[in-house]
Amino acid sequence: MDDTRDFGTPKKDTLKQVTLTIDGQKVTVAEGTSVMRAAAEFGSSIPKLCATDSLEPFGSCRLCLVEIQGKRGYPASCTTPVEEGMVVSTQTPKLADIRKGVMELYISDHPLDCLTCATNGDCELQDMAGAVGLREVRYGYEGSNHLKAEKDESNPYFTFDPSKCIVCSRCVRACEETQGTFALTIDSRGFDSKVSAGNKSFFDSECVSCGACVQACPTATLMEKSVIKSGVPEKSITTTCGYCGVGCSFNAEMKGEELVRMTPNKNGGANHGHSCVKGRFAWGYATHKDRITTPMIRKSIHDPWEEVTWDEAINHAAREITRIQNKYGKESVGAINSSRCTNEETYLVQKLVRACFGNNNIDTCARVCHSPTGYGLKQTLGESAGTQNFDSVMKSDVIMVIGANPTDGHPVFASRMKRRLRQGAKLIVVDPREIDLVNKSPHIKADYHLKLKPGTNVAIINAIAHVIVTEGLVDEKFVNERCEIDSFKKWADFVSLEKNSPEALQFETGVPAETVRQAALLFAKENNGSIYYGLGVTEHSQGSTMVMGIANLAMATANIGREGVGVSPLRGQNNVQGSCDMGSFPHEFPGYRHVSDNETRKMLEESWGVQLQSEPGLRIPNMLDSAIDGSFKAVYCQGEDIAQSDPNTQHVTHALESMECVIVQDLFLNETAMYAHVFLPGSSFLEKSGTFTNAERRISPVRRVMTPKNGYEDWEVTQMLSNALGYPMNYKHASEILDEIAKLTPTFKNVSFKKLDELGSIQWPCNDEHPDGTPTMHIGEFVRGKGKFFVTEYIPTTEKVNKRFPLILTTGRILSQYNVGAQTRRTENSQWHSEDLIEIHPHDAEERGINNGDWAGITSRAGETVLRCQITERVQPGVVYTTFHHPFSGANVITTDNSDWATNCPEFKVTAVQLTKVNQVSSWQDKYRSFSEQQISFVGTKKEKV
């Protein structure tokens, strides 16, 4: 069956089959299937306009009428389910007559500008006119019509042209069913019916620009501006989004080498045809004028850049690394790779470090986000990865969201979660802030919002566990069969202590004991309980403890090892899971095998032809500290921007300034590149082949759709550097790197480009035992054998409020911007979020004489910055909140060096600060502005080259 076709109505997953006759042919389909879909599955296309298989049938267009023996009239095939023995005719003279009459009415109020219309050749209305054989329209334009209805062009990415609207409601239903935002409605009745974004322009409305309405529109009413500008694409290549950890599959629709639009792939395992504003529309950065495409070198960061050839740049970098290692020792250099790069690229960078640099000084940006996930889940369950696929949420009865804001950070998954919540699943939100899921998403309200004080996660998880254990709600059968009993007993004894009761901890957490008790009972008593969490869990001094606390809870309630349950970290960037899988941590080889594991090391040594170190290398913060103490002198930084994303900016930049050679490989002159001596231009996700692995462990293909603007895919640059350093690498294509990964990593054993092309995507482990991958982990047995409980003592952070710093700053992100903003700031997404704001509660604002929109100086123990204030009750008194998408904001100037005890993941979520009303930017911002302007001026004329 061609899954790219539109079958008109959604597939039914029931096992019971029904046999009927359609146009004389016997067909057998799943019970509940519509007549329209049954016909489509067997190759017969019934004309339709209001139906599409991503939406429930609506039955409004009257084009899909059929005749059914024994039934009166002409039922709509989209809303009529099949019945055993039913006899259906889809093409009769009478039906043809009715359909032609319906189309005639539609066309009589539609502009006849097909030849100049942006969707000419890609329009369902046009197709249907042809399908029903419409040859004339008897009604003229003299009467009332909508042809002069005003266009809404307010959205930067698409237009709304009501003159072309047939009021089929597909857009309205897509906004409701697919996205769950309910921003659109049909206003008025009869002839006056019109699609409305709540009587506002699209830009000013609740619309989140996910593109679901544009995707669903069968005419040119909702249309991508890029298609209006460039015309209908001529080819399509399936690839994977380069933004968040959902890993949506997209069709890159091209005209030659020009990307015209990205449309979500309905067969995408992670997104099932849905998208968000970033993946769908915010890809313009790839061809932005700020791209640097020529390699550059310089002696000092105070010198202008010199543009050089690739050979010169690579040889210069290699000479510097060699010089530094000769002078300061083998351990004086290292590398940082990025979750924005492919598996193949991150694998190659870690191989370069281990095999060529001869040390284990490799780290990745997961250090500052989900390293506690890797540690905590490995310890408890045996594998450093989430346990479920995204579809699993549709079988959850109660969903606990901890320290995550899915509607902003993981919007496509959030849409699915919201769908399940609208179906009746219960919701517990554990977050210091009122995220949209609490009470701002239509038809969704959290059953419990545990609005805790930042930094008290572990106290809350212990209090929940206390209730479950002391109320006798532990699933003892599961624990006895599946877990280490000794570890369970220690944990159960510990959480049962009075000090861990909700009552004892309520002052510390700020959450009333009764609320915690009710939430705990709800979670334990529902059949399927799932936990989704984000950086609000990991970016704490007890991040790893909290991850283990979550795993403890899931095991104690038997919520592991089947669909609808599990522990699911929502990964921030597109390839956080993958970069960790690829051995990007200094203590682990690919596949999470410790560097001291002799068997693995021997196997890699044989394959790579060199001796490898058996001791862990330096983590990013260790590298920075060592740079300042003078023992770490050079870093190769691929696709990561530590000068903006890592905590305590001044410490980071001091460390970078202390090094003798900083090599940055990136699309843009990012913040770190301003401290670099070698700049190697990077390639965007559109310009390379490889794979990304999302938060579900889903390995998805990334396919090159255009020639790299810089001339090389990123892995080729790493290979050139390695060759220049004397360690030969001779891969001819990224697929060969994946083949090597599969050969050396048991969980990737059966993964290849060919298999990915066959299956679309694969969730690891993919090996002989699981040849097509593993959607749900730990079925029957944990990866480590028996699940292990850990005692999770709550230890308050040392980052405490006092008179000087009385507020707690916590950080997060917003829908339209992504991470450090290097990509999204270079798109129209900045129209929604042009600067980072600091949210402050009205009481705290009033105390300080701060009004909405005022500038506030934010001072912490680490530094000071200035941001504009937004007064809101979303944050609780005593807590302020900001995002970190703009470098000038200096959000990380104020975050501290505090970090997770196990992994050194920074404590981004808790910084004691004071806010005061000010009239000017901070001294750091002043210095930053002049420094960055100087650095940009050092690049010279590069901006003209793209």
Partner: protein, 69 residues
């Protein structure tokens, strides 16, 4: 690498394992963690600090564990 930073990190590790009532299990936990995740340079520096008896701020579990890594 600053001594205070190193001591702080070691004490944080000890803080986690301190919750285990069996002291040997706690000491092993600290030692294993530092052995598995710290670069030799950091481990050696910590041992040096302990050897030089600059231990006023160091959790006793760390001192006991340092004999095992």
């Amino acid at each position: 690498m600053e001594h205070q930073q190193l001591i702080k990190m070691a004490n944080q590790i000890a803080g986690f394992f301190e919750a285990y009532p069996d002291k040997k299990e706690a000491i092993d936990g600290v030692a294993n963690h530092i052995q598995k995740f710290w670069a030799p340079k950091m481990r050696n520096l910590l041992k040096e600090i302990i050897k030089e008896d600059k231990i006023a701020d160091i959790n006793p579990l760390v001192i006991d564990a340092s004999k095992l890594f």
